[in-house]
C-alpha cells in the first residue's frame, strides 16, 4: 500500500504535536505540583519555625496557657490538622487535634533555647556566647487533601487544554498541508506518470506564484524539451543503426581474415621454433665437428713425426742388421745405432704421449657434450681438459687462457652442458673479443659462495657496444653475419645455463677494455 507524502507529513506532524503536547502537559502538571507542594512546605515551615521561636520560653517554663494560645493560633491556619509539642524526652507537653491516618504530611522542628555557660553571672552582665540546647520538638500535621484536589483539578484542565490544542493544531496543519502541498504535488505526480507512459504532451496549469508554480513551469519546459529531444534522438538512433550495421559487416570480414592470419602465424611460429631448435642442435654438432677436425689436425703432426721416426728407425735397424750379418758391423756403428734408436724412440714416445693426451681430453669433452648424464666432477681438472681440447684453435694465437680455481671444488651437475658453456664462451672471446688483439688474455675464475658456484669468464678484448649488450643472448644475434657467425653461440650458453644447469648468467662490458660473463650455478643440481 502506497502512503502519500500528505499522509506521511500528517502522521509526522500529528506525532510531533502529540509528543510536544504531552511533554508540555506533563511539564505543566509537574511544575504545578512542585509549585503547590513548595507553597505548602513554605507555609508549613513558616508556621512551625514561627511557633518554635515563640514557644521557646513557654516550653522552657512549661507555660501551658501560652503554649495553648500559640498552638491554637497555628491550628486556625488553613489545612493544619494537628499540632503536637513534645519535650526533650519526647513526652507530649501539648497536643491539639488528631492527625488523619492518611492524606496528611508531618513537619517536625526543634525548639531550641540558649544555654548559659559556667560563667553565668558574667554572661548575664557582659553577654556571652550561649550554647544551643534542644528543649522540645514541634510536630505539625498538614492535610494534603486540598493540595491533592488542586493538583487533580489542574491535571484535568491541562489534559483538556492539551488534547484540544493537539486536535486543533493537527486539523489545521492537515488542511493547510493538503491545500498548499498535496494538491500541487499530486498534479505533478500525475504528470510524471503520464510522461513515464510516454505521453509527452503534458501541460500542468500554473495558478499560483509559489515554488510549485516555478516547479510546474520548469516541468512544462522540461516536457517540451523532452519531446524535441526524443524526435532528434530517434533520428540519430536510426542513422547510427545503419552505420553500425555496415561496420558490423566489415568487422565480420576482418575477423575472419584475422583468424586465418593468426593460424598461419601460429604455424609459422611453430616451424620457426622447430628450425631454431634444429639450428641450435646443428650449431652444437658443428662446433663438435670443428673440435673433431681440430683434434684430427692436431694429432696428425705427432703421428706423422712418429711414422717418420719409426721409418727411420726401421731403416737404420735394417742397415745395422745387414752389417751384422755381413760381419761388417763396427763398434762405432753399433754405438751410433743405439744412440739413434734411443733418440728416435724417445721422439716417437713424446709425440705419441702428446697424441694420447689430446685424444683423452677430446674424448672426455666430446663424450660429455654428446651425453646428458649428470655426475660429480672436479671443476679445475675439467676446465683444464676443456682448454686442452680447444688447443687446436687456441694455439694458433698468442692469447692465453688462465684458470684461477681451487683444486678441490667438485660439483654434481651436467659436465657436457658445463663444457658447452665454457667452450662457447672461450671461442666467443677468441672470435669476437680478442679478434683485433695481438696478445689477449682470458681469465676464468671460480669461487664458491652461498652453495653456488660462481664462474667469471673475462677477457681484455674490445668489449661489446652498449647498443648490443642487451641482445647478445638473443637467438641469431651476431655482428659477424657475413663472416659465418650464426648468432647462436651465446643463445646456447644462456639456454644451457638457465635451463640445463638451473643457474643465472649476466654480462658486463666496457668497450676497448673487455667483457665479463658471470655465471652462478648450483653445486648440487637437483634432478628435474
Amino acid at each position: 500500500m502506497r502512503i502519500g507524502i500528505d499522509k506521511k507529513f500528517g502522521i509526522l506532524t500529528i506525532s510531533i504535536i502529540i509528543v510536544l503536547g504531552l511533554t508540555l502537559g506533563h511539564y505543566m502538571n509537574h511544575h504545578q505540583a512542585l509549585l503547590l507542594r513548595g507553597e505548602l512546605e513554605d507555609r508549613a515551615n513558616l508556621l512551625i519555625k514561627n511557633l518554635a521561636y515563640n514557644v521557646e520560653y513557654p516550653v522552657l517554663i512549661n507555660d501551658q496557657e501560652n503554649i495553648a494560645r500559640l498552638v491554637e493560633g497555628v491550628m486556625s491556619q488553613r489545612d493544619v490538622e494537628s499540632c503536637r509539642i513534645t519535650d526533650k524526652r519526647s513526652k507530649i507537653i501539648y497536643q491539639s487535634g488528631l492527625p488523619a491516618p492518611e492524606g496528611v504530611r508531618e513537619f517536625v522542628w526543634s525548639v531550641i533555647t540558649e544555654k548559659n555557660s559556667d560563667e553565668m553571672e558574667e554572661d548575664l552582665m557582659f553577654g556571652g556566647e550561649p550554647e544551643k540546647e534542644e528543649i522540645g520538638k514541634i510536630h505539625l500535621f498538614i492535610s494534603t487533601s486540598s493540595l491533592d484536589r488542586e493538583l487533580s483539578d489542574g491535571r484535568k484542565t491541562i489534559i483538556q487544554v492539551v488534547i484540544g490544542a493537539i486536535l486543533a493544531t493537527s486539523l489545521l496543519s492537515s488542511i493547510l498541508f493538503r491545500l498548499l502541498v498535496s494538491r500541487p504535488v499530486n498534479r505533478l505526480v500525475r504528470a510524471t506518470e503520464k510522461i513515464a507512459k510516454g505521453e509527452l504532451n503534458v501541460n500542468i496549469p500554473v495558478n499560483t506564484n509559489d515554488e510549485f508554480a516555478i516547479l510546474s513551469n520548469s516541468f512544462n519546459m522540461m516536457t517540451g524539451e523532452l519531446l524535441k529531444h526524443r524526435h532528434e534522438l530517434e533520428e540519430l538512433v536510426k542513422k547510427r543503426t545503419e552505420e553500425l550495421e555496415k561496420v558490423n559487416e566489415q568487422l565480420s570480414v576482418e575477423l575472419s581474415e584475422r583468424r586465418k592470419t593468426e593460424n598461419a602465424l601460429r604455424e609459422a611460429n611453430k616451424e620457426l621454433r622447430k628450425s631454431q631448435e634444429q639450428l641450435v642442435q646443428s650449431e652444437k654438432m658443428a662446433s663438435l665437428g670443428q673440435l673433431v677436425a681440430g683434434v684430427a689436425h692436431e694429432i696428425n703432426t705427432p703421428i706423422g713425426i712418429g711414422v717418420t721416426a719409426a721409418s727411420h728407425l726401421m731403416k737404420t735397424t735394417t742397415e745395422i742388421k745387414t752389417s751384422y750379418e755381413n760381419q761388417q758391423m763396427t763398434k762405432s756403428s753399433l754405438e751410433s745405432y743405439f744412440s739413434d734408436a734411443s733418440e728416435i724412440s724417445g721422439l716417437i714416445l713424446t709425440h705419441l704421449n702428446r697424441t694420447s693426451e689430446l685424444i683423452r681430453s677430446f674424448k672426455m669433452v666430446s663424450a660429455d657434450q654428446t651425453s646428458h648424464d649428470k655426475r660429480i666432477f672436479n671443476i679445475k681438472s675439467y676446465l683444464e681438459d676443456i682448454v686442452i681440447s680447444l688447443q687446436p684453435k687456441t694455439k694458433r694465437t698468442n692469447h692465453s687462457i688462465k684458470i684461477i680455481c681451487p683444486d678441490d671444488i667438485e660439483i654434481d651437475s651436467y659436465p657436457g652442458a658445463f663444457a658447452q658453456v665454457i667452450t662457447n664462451l672461450i671461442l666467443n672471446s677468441m672470435i669476437h673479443g680478442l679478434e683485433d688483439r695481438e696478445k689477449g688474455e682470458i681469465v676464468i675464475e671460480v669461487t664458491v659462495r652461498d652453495e653456488s658456484l660462481h664462474i667469471s669468464h673475462s677477457d681484455n678484448g674490445k668489449g661489446i657496444d652498449q647498443l648490443h649488450i642487451n641482445k647478445i643472448f638473443d637467438p641469431f644475434f651476431t655482428t659477424k653475419r657475413g663472416s659465418g657467425g650464426t648468432g647462436l653461440g651465446l643463445h646456447i650458453v644462456y639456454n644451457t645455463v638457465t635451463h640445463t644447469l638451473n643457474g643465472t648468467i649476466s654480462c658486463n662490458s666496457v668497450v676497448n677494455e673487455g667483457t665479463i660473463f658471470v655465471i652462478a650455478i648450483p653445486i648440487i643440481l637437483e634432478q628435474p
Binding site: N66, D118, M120, E122, F126, G127
Partner: protein
C-alpha cells in the same frame, strides 16, 4: 656638729625608706601575672588600668598573661610556679576560683567578680564589681522623680542583693515591691505583677531568674506595660532597659593595681580586704524613655557614658 649628725641620720632614713618601699623601682622589673577567665572587652580595660597605675607610680613591671579559655589550668599553674610572680591579678570569676584554689604563696588580687565575698582569704583580696544599689537609686530618682515604688524579682541566690536593695530603698524613701521566685516558671507572672504594682524594676544579678529568654520576655513586657527597667550593663540599655549602671572598668584596674602593690609591700599581710568600685558609669536608652514618656534631664544625659537612640 649636732646638726651634721642629724642630717646624716635623716638622709640614711630617707634612703632606707625608699629602698624598702619600692624594691623594684631601680632598674629591676616587678614580675606580675595576669590570669583571664575568658576574652571580654571589659577585661582588657582592667589590664589597661593596672598597667596605667604602675606606670603612674614609675614602677616597671613585667607582665605574664594567661587565659583559661585558651590554656589548660595545669599548664598555667606550672608556669606560675616557675615564674613565682610577686603579685597575681585575676580577672573574672573562673580565674579567681582557679587562683584561690591553687596559689598560696603569692598575693592574689581579683577583679570583675560578682560574688566577691566567698573568695576572700589570707592571701586573696580584690575589687568588687557590684555597683551599690543606693548609688543606682539616687540617679533613678533624678531621672524619674515621680517614681515611688521600686520593684525587684529575686530568688534565694540573689538574697543579698534583695537585702541591700531593701536598705537602700529605706534610705531613699522608696517603697519596695519584691517578689521572690521559687521556680523560673513563675517569672512571667512576677513580671506582670511588678508591672502593675511598681514604678520601675531593678534587675539583680541572678542567673536562675535572668537568662536570655526571660530577659527577652522582660524587656518586651516592660515596653508593653511601660515599666522602666534598670539593667545590669549597657547591653541591657541597648536592648530596651531605660538605664543601666556599671563600674568604670579602667578605674577598677587601677584599684586592683593599688591593692596589689599594697599587698606586695606588706609581704606577710594576713589581712584580707575587699574594695568597692570608686567610679560608676551609666547608659541611657532614649527611645525607651520616649516610649515611657520620661523626660531625662540634660545634665543626667551629659553624665551618661553611653546613650542609645539619639
Amino acid at each position: 656638729m649636732k646638726n651634721q649628725k642629724y642630717i646624716t641620720f635623716l638622709l640614711l632614713f630617707i634612703i632606707l625608706t625608699i629602698s624598702l618601699s619600692t624594691p623594684y623601682a631601680s632598674g629591676e622589673s616587678l614580675p606580675v601575672t595576669l590570669i583571664y577567665s575568658s576574652n571580654r572587652t571589659p577585661y582588657t580595660l582592667i589590664e589597661n588600668g593596672i598597667r596605667r597605675f604602675f606606670t603612674d607610680k614609675s614602677i616597671d613591671i613585667s607582665i605574664s598573661s594567661y587565659n583559661l579559655k585558651k590554656q589548660s589550668p595545669d599548664v598555667i599553674y606550672r608556669k606560675i610556679e616557675t615564674n613565682a610572680p610577686k603579685i597575681l591579678f585575676t580577672i573574672g570569676t573562673r580565674a579567681t576560683r582557679f587562683a584561690v584554689k591553687k596559689i598560696k604563696n603569692s598575693p592574689v588580687v581579683f577583679s570583675m567578680v560578682l560574688d566577691p565575698e566567698k573568695f576572700l582569704g589570707p592571701n586573696v583580696s580584690g575589687v568588687s564589681l557590684n555597683v551599690p544599689t543606693e548609688m543606682k537609686l539616687e540617679i533613678v530618682k533624678e531621672i524619674i522623680p515621680q517614681a515611688k515604688k521600686a520593684g525587684i524579682i529575686y530568688s534565694q541566690k540573689s538574697l543579698p542583693y534583695y537585702q541591700e536593695t531593701t536598705e537602700a530603698c529605706k534610705k531613699l524613701d522608696f517603697e519596695l515591691i519584691s517578689i521572690k521566685l521559687e521556680d523560673k516558671s513563675e517569672f512571667p507572672d512576677a513580671v506582670n505583677e511588678i508591672s502593675v504594682k511598681a514604678d520601675f524594676l531593678l534587675m539583680v544579678m541572678d542567673s536562675t531568674i535572668y537568662f536570655s529568654q526571660s530577659i527577652k520576655y522582660l524587656l518586651t513586657e516592660s515596653l508593653r506595660h511601660k515599666l522602666p527597667v534598670i539593667g545590669l550593663s549597657s547591653l541591657y540599655t541597648k536592648a530596651g532597659a531605660l538605664i543601666s549602671f556599671e563600674s568604670d572598668y579602667n578605674n577598677i584596674g587601677r584599684q586592683a593595681g593599688e591593692l596589689g602593690l599594697m599587698k606586695f609591700k606588706g609581704h606577710t599581710s594576713g589581712r584580707s580586704s575587699l574594695v568597692k568600685p570608686q567610679k560608676i558609669t551609666f547608659s541611657l536608652n532614649m527611645i525607651t524613655a520616649d516610649r515611657m514618656n520620661i523626660t531625662i534631664p540634660s545634665e543626667i544625659i551629659n553624665k551618661a557614658s553611653e546613650t542609645f537612640g539619639k
